[in-house]
Symmetry: C2
Amino acid sequence: MEEELIMVRVAELYYDEDKTQDEIGALLKLSRWKVGRLLTQARERGIVRIEIVHPRARRLGLERQLVERHGLTAAVVVPSPDGDDGTLERVAQAAADYLTAMRPVPRTLGVSWGRTLRAVAESLPDGWATGVTVVQLNGGVSLNRRSGGAAGLAVTIAQRASGHVSLLPSPAILERVETKQAIEADRTVAAVLVEAAEAQAFLFTAGPCDATSAHVENGYLSASDVEELARRGAVGDVLGRYIDADGNIVDPQLDARTVGVDLGRLRAAKRSIFVTAGDAKHDIARTVVTSGLCSVLVTDETTARALLEER
Amino acid sequence: MEEELIMVRVAELYYDEDKTQDEIGALLKLSRWKVGRLLTQARERGIVRIEIVHPRARRLGLERQLVERHGLTAAVVVPSPDGDDGTLERVAQAAADYLTAMRPVPRTLGVSWGRTLRAVAESLPDGWATGVTVVQLNGGVSLNRRSGGAAGLAVTIAQRASGHVSLLPSPAILERVETKQAIEADRTVAAVLVEAAEAQAFLFTAGPCDATSAHVENGYLSASDVEELARRGAVGDVLGRYIDADGNIVDPQLDARTVGVDLGRLRAAKRSIFVTAGDAKHDIARTVVTSGLCSVLVTDETTARALLEER
DNA sequence: AGGCAAGATGCTCATATGAGCAGATTGATG
DNA sequence: CATCAATCTGCTCATATGAGCATCTTGCCT
């Protein structure tokens, strides 16, 4: 359209050449107001695109939509970088920022584990809070020795807040229900579980239901176990508990052998912060969000858009 | 830096959330002025990027630099599309726009030929001018039959301006100097050449010095001729005349067999419009621009940047 | 043709913004 | 520790801009 061409010229003069609307009007023989209106339209039509390019930028619009649509307390969405990935780091940084700014500071913070949370821990600055007690929410897994595994993650978070840490001295999944019950009956374990269940805030991630799962990596489950779970509708795990698209436990048997606070606690919590990054986790993320497991979501733009798609 | 993070937050609130600087100040406990300054910095540092996304957008900044650096009368630079090519079309459109807006309207317009100029001709709207006589500047080549070749191009431009056309009834390059002189001595040919030399404006492109050249395609030169020219320093041709990086004729022998107005006319002309698109033509474009063959340059962003690089 | 609704235009006026400046703060230096 | 330069801060004031409204076009239906 002819009008559109003028819009382009006006936008160029205004944004590239820093001319005033008056000047542009004079130049193009348009009234000052016409120029203003053309600029508004140009922005609306997306001819003028204003973008904030920064690893720590956020997508406030998407955040608002997510909060609205899924009844969250808050959402933090960071732009996914164009090329390859710095996505995890950006999301982790954002989660760290959120934790640091969170008020009131929780006295106890329950944490799960995973690559994502490890990244969050590393992104937290020293002194991000003071006197926060960090409690593990589910059975320990030593993701990889070097970085100290699940325990190391909790310790890092606690240290940087000059706080204490309560580790859960238990495997994630046990082979027999009886063993699991025995472990839970142990005084130290029971105490940690109580502390975890009563944490004032939760910080957790979820894993997709595929062979890359940390449970497989650590030998708690075999690749075929995971396949079977997927076949039965599992979309991923939260605190080691595999759930289907509606958020229900897929295999109660397995669940009974899993050590950690149960998902109801997350649902009931006022502040349960879910951190997720990456395309592989869209399905489980959708479930976590729609089934009310989290009240705060921290994620990347791609995931956010996936969560906003119809159905 | 800490400051930078605040800049990002401020920019988000201002540009994404349409908050006023006052509001942002209140929100972030900054003075209104601080907010304003942060925004200015954010723009300067490129954290806020304002982009005009439109096939007919232009790069006024680059245009100004080109005019300045190379002493041009005017420059038109269109953004190169991200992915593959619509570059030629965009440049052609821009050239057509430039011609249409050009004042005073030239009584006679000298044109060369080539894929690029063909695209320009097609982009010109009916009635882009009235009563312009179009004259061919150099020997005819029938690029491809379908679209009517060099003659068709000139005819199209003339028709759309309800004007006349003067075709140059001659091959581009002749085998013997004597034949060339004989042809030029022909009354009709001589008349056209005079008309061409005296045109009030010139519109031309250049070809790179490689086997894709239209001269090879049309059998005026062999692939090995072109190779030889390149070896002797030719970077491309303008009006069928091969020149080196300094704009000098590479092979006077060959040049003497080439029919068309000579390059001096372009250098002397007040309005000689050079249209070029595509990465293959950076070298010849540089030569045309630096050796003063054109007074107006129409090109794409990539070429423009290449022309602005040091040396 | 006449009349009417939808949209565009140019205005007034309140508000948002940037330039320029004076005072305050910081940090380096003797 | 005093001094000073360099930067930063919050201000006044002039200017640029958007909201809201009356008026004018335009196209459409009767």
